[in-house]
């Protein structure tokens, strides 16, 4: 103890720290500590949470077109504690907005903006705007559908500013369209310029607050007290309440949402964060060139009036006007927010696209768990999206359209797990071959001899033999999920090859060397391999596949319905690459 005191004396002697601490702790609170003085401290606390969590998120975040969503996904779904860290940052931002409004209300109601505190009030209003700017820029950073489409609306509004709009938009986006530099610029704003401004202004805000002293609410409730410890305890309890609120929100909403990666070709009902909803709703009432009125002029007037509050509020009448104005704005915002939420609830097509977006988000996260290719997660989703657009009018994938949607009347085989052992075992069962899941709704069921062959032979083939046969055919696919199985079952696969000839499959199908003269049914050499699948998608009417017996399958490659890259994406996805 003696040592610590000595050290403290030594430090004080060189820095004068004792006086600073005294000044900080023993600030006079006229009329004693009160709960209504806690808002500033809770905001400082919320800001501190944002700095701490933000910097740690920074350590895992990578702003670019192919890495933003991917790195946020990785933080959120794979890093230990990442989900919680992101949830804290997200929900504190929400709570902070509410606290800002409460702080502003308290200051306005108490008339704490009056002389000599005008400048400090202005600092506060600028801080409010900076915080909203932080929210807006942060919304885009995950580069998911939600952030992308909502921010697009915001930057288009910016682009509508008279004269300078287009230039400002180009500067903010870092180009004419959304891309890498949109992210790097938003990130530099979000984690650099805005926080530095917030720190500077907060320092000024607190300095001026200390210079003027607390604005006491009359009538005073008791004798004066020092800041320490009475008010500090109240502040601490309030901060604890803020933290608990954030935690409750985090756990009840299961962290912060992450949508599917940004995709300019997929519809998404753009919505801003809830506290901007009223501005969003407001725009619905301003047609065409009046939009600028709703987007810029009227909010600008409201903001200017708020800014002028200390001057308007010099008289008692003016003060009443200020209080009325603030409540007016808040009630107005609440009504518009309600209208926006209500309109969305009753909008069927919006609910449908929302559900679709949810399914895509779940799907891409599941696929991303196996690793994301360097082109980014959007490429990952191209397979199922192309399947849904081009294949799902006939085929299904696990009974769905590839994106988790319904398929009305499937007329071609389901392709989930195509060429895998499980798939073939089921396919080669006579009762299943002709079912709706496989060839039941195709012309092949009547035209080809396959079903008859299965019905005749199936009961004479032993289960273990069937197993070997399936293993042999499935091995042709070289599926990534079966690489090790294929290696360890070498003898079974060889036996399967022999059975293929013994049973008579070879009378129609080739397995290990196809030519047009000897085989009438699809070639099974390399069946299910990338090359084979690219071939059948390119042209199923090729003799190697269905030839003239092809049912309705289009020749996607031959007829240029899909590019090679697109076909590869579908095939790779089906094969689970």
């Amino acid at each position: 103890m003696e040592q610590i005191k000595k050290l403290y004396d030594w430090l004080d002697n060189r820095t004068g720290i004792r006086d600073h601490i005294r000044e900080t702790l023993f600030e006079n609170v006229p009329g004693g500590s009160r709960w209504r003085y806690v808002w500033g401290s809770t905001l400082t606390f919320a800001l501190m949470i944002q700095f701490i969590t933000g910097i740690f998120l920074w350590m895992g975040y990578s702003p670019s077109g192919q890495t933003a969503w991917e790195s946020v996904y990785y933080i959120n779904n794979h890093m230990t504690g990442g989900h919680f860290l992101r949830g804290l940052h997200h929900w504190t931002a929400q709570v902070m907005t509410v606290l800002l409004v409460l702080h502003l209300m308290q200051v306005v109601i108490d008339g704490a903006y009056r002389a000599p505190r005008e400048v400090n009030f202005w600092f506060g209003v600028i801080l409010l705007k900076l915080t909203l700017a932080l929210s807006l820029t942060g919304y885009l950073l995950p580069w998911d559908q939600k952030g992308y489409w909502a921010t697009k609306v915001a930057t288009d509004i910016l682009g509508g500013t008279p004269l300078v709009g287009e230039y400002l938009k180009t500067l903010v986006l870092g180009g004419s369209d959304y891309g890498h530099h949109t992210l790097t610029r938003f990130f530099a704003l979000h984690a650099g310029i805005l926080p530095i401004s917030v720190i500077a202004l907060t320092a000024g805000h607190i300095y001026l607050f200390r210079r003027h002293g607390i604005h006491p609410k009359k009538p005073l409730k008791g004798p004066d007290e020092f800041f320490w410890p009475e008010q500090v305890l109240k502040d601490a309890v309030a901060c604890l309440a803020v933290l608990v609120t954030v935690l409750v929100l985090h756990f009840s909403f299961n962290g912060a949402h992450l949508d599917a990666p940004a995709d300019p070709s997929t519809n998404y009902p753009a919505r801003p964060d809830w506290y901007f909803l009223f501005l969003f709703q407001f725009l619905k009432y301003f047609p065409g060139h009046w939009e600028i009125l709703g987007a810029i002029v009227l909010p600008g007037i409201a903001m200017t009036l708020v800014f002028l509050m200390p001057i308007i509020g010099k008289s008692e009448k003016g003060h009443k006007f200020n209080v009325g104005l603030l409540f007016g704005i808040l009630v107005f915002a609440a009504v518009l927010t309600y209208a926006a939420v209500n309109a969305d609830k009753n909008n069927e097509s919006l609910q449908a696209s929302k559900a679709q977006a949810e399914r895509e988000a779940a799907l891409v996260k599941k696929m991303a768990a196996n690793g994301i290719p360097p082109e980014g997660a959007l490429a990952l989703l191209q397979g199922p999206k192309l399947f849904a657009a081009h294949c799902a009018s006939c085929h299904t994938y696990g009974g769905e359209d590839g994106l988790g949607g319904k398929v009305d009347k499937p007329s071609a085989p389901d392709l989930k797990g195509f060429a895998s052992r499980e798939y073939l075992t089921e396919l080669l069962h006579p009762e299943r071959y002709g079912s709706e899941k496989f060839f039941g709704n195709t012309a092949h069921i009547k035209k080809s001899k396959m079903l008859g062959f299965l019905e005749d032979e199936f009961e004479f083939i032993e289960e273990s033999e069937m197993d070997q046969l399936v293993k042999a055919i499935s091995a042709e696919a070289k599926l990534p999920s079966q690489v090790n199985l294929d290696k360890s079952d070498k003898s079974d696969i060889e036996a399967g090859h022999e059975l293929f000839e013994e049973i008579g499959c070879v009378d129609c199908h080739a397995l290990g060397g196809w030519n047009a003269d000897d085989y009438s049914a699809p070639d099974l050499t390399g069946y299910g391999s990338r090359e084979w699948m690219m071939g059948i998608v390119h042209n199923p009417e090729h003799e190697r596949f269905y030839g003239s017996k092809n049912d309705r399958m289009p020749a996607f490659g031959r007829d240029e319905k899909l590019t090679r890259k697109q076909m590869e994406r579908i095939v790779d996805w089906l094969r689970g690459e």
Binding site: G65, H181, P264, L283, K284, A379, T563
Partner: protein, 193 residues
């Protein structure tokens, strides 16, 4: 040096003092301006750069006329090669279009025409939905409503849906080729970007 000394010195040597003050401020401003100007110049780069996507838009093949069903808009993703700063992408989705096939009878001849719409709302850039039940296009953001001819029925959009050029020659040959372009948002006129 005491304060009086300083002020007396100032009185006696006003030119020198003024020079020192001026020089300090000038140097201070200059050394601050250099890094600031260096940064600002780079930030302004997009304003002076020719857009990467610029250059005449080309027709791209989307589908066959026979694959479209009459009177029902169908959505097609626009997949293009794209350059974004240091990245060159092959075949990435850059947008989408609705294709609407209509047939008109003129005497005994049926002429097929295909209209192509950019799916982006001319208001603030949201993705416009096609609603089968209502037989219209509907922007989920600010509720603009367009009929199947792209005309604004109700809502805040300043103009009709943006149509895209369809290659007439190819159309006669049964193929749909569309020139994909973007347009400036929220203006009365349709201005290609």
């Amino acid at each position: 040096m005491s304060k009086e000394n300083v002020s007396s010195q100032e009185d006696s040597q006003p030119d020198r003092r003024d020079f020192i003050k001026g020089a300090s401020c000038a140097i201070g401003a200059a050394i601050g301006a250099v890094p600031m100007a260096a940064g600002v110049r780079v930030v302004l780069d997009p304003l002076t750069r020719q857009s990467e996507t610029e250059g005449a838009a080309e027709f791209i093949r989307l589908t066959d006329v026979s694959d479209l069903s009459e009177g029902e808009p169908m959505k097609f993703a626009i997949v293009e090669d794209k350059k974004d700063k240091w990245s060159r992408y092959k075949d990435v989705p850059v947008g989408a279009v609705y294709l609407l096939k209509t047939a008109t009878q003129e005497e005994s001849e049926t002429s097929i025409s295909v209209i192509a719409y950019n799916t982006v709302c001319p208001h603030l850039g949201c993705f416009v939905d096609y609603r089968e039940k209502e037989q219209d296009f509907f922007c989920p953001c600010h509720d603009s409503n367009f009929d199947l001819n792209g005309k604004l029925v109700k809502g805040v959009s300043p103009r009709a849906m943006d149509t895209l050029e369809v290659d007439e020659e190819k159309l006669k040959a049964g193929e749909v080729w569309v020139k994909f372009q973007r347009f400036k948002g929220n203006t009365k006129e349709k201005i290609a970007l």
